[in-house]
Amino acid sequence: MKEQKDSYFKKYFQLRKHNAQVALKKMKVSKNCYIFLAPYAILFTMFNVFPVVASIYFSFTYYNVLESPRFIGLNNYISLILEDDIFLIGIKNTLIIAVVTGPLGYIMSFLFAWLINELPRWVRSVAVVVFYAPSIAANVFVIFSVFFRGDAYGYANAFLMNIGIIDTPIYWFTNPKYMLPICMVVILWMSLGQGFLSFVAGLQGVDRAQYEAGYMDGVRNRWQELWFITLPSMKPMLMFGAVMSITQAFGVCDVTMQLCGYPSTDYAARTIVTHLFDYGFTRFEMGYACAIATILFLMMILTNKAIQSLLRRVGT
């Protein structure tokens, strides 16, 4: 019995050794490949992989840059969730923004890409520029602070006062009731980004023959065509677009910081990322900030996984 076990182990290790040798040989043959990949791989590891690992490590420590990190176990997480009210506001706001602007922006991206696709060629290229421009002209959204200025000269206030809905100007960016909704409008305005481009390109690449076959099989209107032909053949782009809009939806901070101020009134526009900036770059409590980053990171990855498994079912 024992001998048999030994021989199994022996065989196993032999196999592993053999595999390793094969891999090593392959690596030697493709030496050039590694040389080509090396510059990117090194930088990528430095600025994308290492920070995530470091973030998780620092989140278990007290670290203020001056002293070396001191291990304190789960304390950062415990105080984040149990003691830090403002963080909970941040989570709430981020989730509200993500739940509203994420799916809505995603659907808008697809809807407009799909509608634009029906247009003749040159109109289509103009339309793509018009719809995509807000998201690349990133800082133009500050112009919204002119539209929603808090005094009677702001356009929104002037308009509402003229038609008699309100009689005193609304402080759009200092009244907690209006801050988040306006920020969400602005985010939606900017949400036709990379996912949108991917959809536009993907729609043009759908095989024409499939549509012809569809007409034969009795696809009656554009909605049926969308559901039975277009969506299933767009699956990879839908995945890509989902990744882009989730990343965007959870990373909201620029819009809220620049429109509502930082810190905002009653922390009503605080998001997870703003909280992270606050602790990381204002108070230099790096350990605590890393705990925030780790939580955000987990939220992003998990949502992505969930949405991807959901999208896999489209058209099946």
């Binding site: 509608l115 209107n221 980053a293 955000l296």
Partner: protein, 300 residues
């Protein structure tokens, strides 16, 4: 006679039908509704941008007119000139901010293009141990935003001694995952026979890359360039750079806007300078970008 006529008919040049053949399952009412709807949405989308451009063109008295009007009556370039004149006297001139941003954008984009294409090329066209795992990592990296890694990045850059230099922004930009991803996906569409033929003719890996592969993926270049420019041009960089003379245009924009009501016109002018570059880059490379994005799908 009849034979001659036949030839005449055949020689008649082919003309595209004026009205394109409609798809059989579309209703006219639906099309009209669609056009009206798209037009309305397009106007909403474009309004803030048009407004911003016009605000930059308005002379001072029109800026504060009430009721306000969207289009400038007597457009001037005064606001743009003011940027250089009034800020020319300040400690850090406007042109310096402009130079900083241009420098960061150009160097960051060029480096990213070369480094990412080199890596994407071998990943797309060769098989070697670790290639698949690495690409998986890149797709995961696309899933979290740049803010998540902000703090360790800061610590790392601090250790490297790059704080308060341009490199703090330029080098991390080289490693952007989305450009790499798009380039790899696009290069997969490149015929392998092309590379093999070049190899048989005696070209080495470098030659293949620079003379065969790179010229053939120009659409993907443009895409990488636009995404990279977009990220770098809008970079505020206030966490990494302290010295006023190395700060970027977007930072200057915020300073001017904080300058209050007297700077409204100039603020609008900087806004236009900030937004015009990414938009123009996109306008000129739209078709190539769309060509690349066609292969952007995320397969599993």
């Amino acid at each position: 006679m009849s034979k001659k006529r036949k030839i005449e008919i055949e020689e008649k040049p082919y003309r595209k039908p004026l009205v394109k053949k409609r798809k059989p399952n579309r209703s006219i009412a639906g099309d009209v509704a669609l056009y009206i709807f798209l037009l309305l949405v397009a106007m909403i989308m474009v309004f803030p941008i048009v407004y911003a451009v016009n605000a930059a063109l308005k002379p001072l008295d029109e800026l504060f007119m009430f009721p306000p009007r969207v289009f400038a009556k007597n457009p001037t370039m005064d606001n743009f000139a003011d940027l250089f004149v009034t800020m020319g006297k300040s400690w850090v001139t406007f042109s310096r901010y402009l130079f900083n941003t241009v420098f960061i954008t150009v160097v960051g984009t060029a480096g990213h293009l070369i480094i990412a294409s080199m890596g994407a090329f071998v990943l797309a066209k060769y098989e070697f141990p670790g290639a698949k795992t690495f690409f998986k990592l890149v797709t995961v990296a696309m899933m979290f935003s740049y803010y998540v890694t902000g703090i360790p990045n800061y610590i790392l850059i601090n250790k490297l001694g790059w704080i308060d230099t341009y490199w703090a922004i330029i080098i991390p930009a080289f490693a952007s995952p989305i450009g790499f991803f798009l380039m790899k996906q696009f290069m997969e569409g490149l015929p392998t026979s092309l590379i093999e033929a070049a190899k048989i003719d005696g070209a080495n890996e470098w030659k293949v890359f620079f003379q065969i592969v790179m010229p053939n993926v120009k659409p993907a270049w443009m895409t990488l360039i636009i995404f990279s420019v977009q990220g770098l041009w809008n970079n505020r960089a206030s966490t990494y750079i302290y010295s006023e003379e190395r700060k970027t245009l977007v930072f200057a924009l915020q300073q001017i806007q904080a300058g209050g009501i007297a700077r409204t016109g100039q603020g609008a002018a900087v806004l236009v300078v900030v937004m015009i570059v990414p938009i123009l880059t996109f306008v000129f490379s739209e078709s190539q970008i769309l060509e690349t994005m066609a292969s952007s799908g995320l397969k599993d």
